[in-house]
Symmetry: C2
Subunit: 116 residues, 2 copies
DNA sequence: CAGTATCCTGTTAGATACTG
DNA sequence: CAGTATCTAACAGGATACTG
């Protein structure tokens, strides 16, 4: 990957939480730390591939902490770092906005193909 | 497009501001209304295709208003609706977060291919 | 349980050329 | 100026099968 140059803060933020799943994963971690399987249940529709991929990227940026317990069966717990918590807080207003206008958004985004 | 069902507010919000450009376009409109060409200059790197496409989608959701002036040469001005303004406000903390941690993010996201 | 490894597809976005 | 049209590349993401 090339040197990234962001043109504004939003650009950088979107680069980090962008994609279909990261914001939701972050949200799922905002109260407690969770195991891989737990997360999978908490983010409905996500595949194992996308879950681990998103987690790894967020771990690389320092948003998420991964703790391995060497037990049988294996246990791995994911949690937010301080950095992750701060991002989550920054994301909160957006989440509320989406919540509030969900119906309107859903309606606007499903009537794309005119009937007939 | 199928009926959309969002699993949370963030999901819905990301569906609306997602992609590479929309958040930045919204931002570029947050102070004043702007013409097509102005926007292009204000969102560095965007192609005309992506600009118009993003604008149209945001117009369809009601975030952006498009005003055509029948002059020669043609003039079209884009501005935020009330709805767009509210989204922009919800986006502000995220923008600030990105601004604050830009360097860290850029560093974390460019060292992907190990040397040699 | 917590992943990896492939293969495959649809969508996103870039390039280029053209128009009212 | 403000777009449209077309083609193509790249990537995100899904499906499926396998592993320590």
């Amino acid at each position: 990957m090339k040197q990234k140059v962001y043109s504004c803060g939003l650009d950088a933020a979107v680069d980090v939480v962008g994609g279909k799943w990261k914001a939701m994963i972050l949200w799922a971690l905002h109260t407690q730390h969770r195991r891989f399987g737990e997360l999978k249940r908490h983010v409905p529709g996500i595949s194992e591939k996308m879950l681990i991929q998103s987690l790894r990227e967020m771990e690389a940026v320092g948003l998420v902490h991964r703790e391995v317990y060497h037990e049988v069966p294996p246990r791995v717990e994911y949690s937010l770092t301080e950095f992750g918590v701060s991002l989550n807080e920054a994301l909160e207003p957006l989440g509320e906005w989406g919540e509030k206008h969900m119906r309107r958004i859903a309606e606007a985004r499903c009537v794309h193909e005119p009937v007939g």
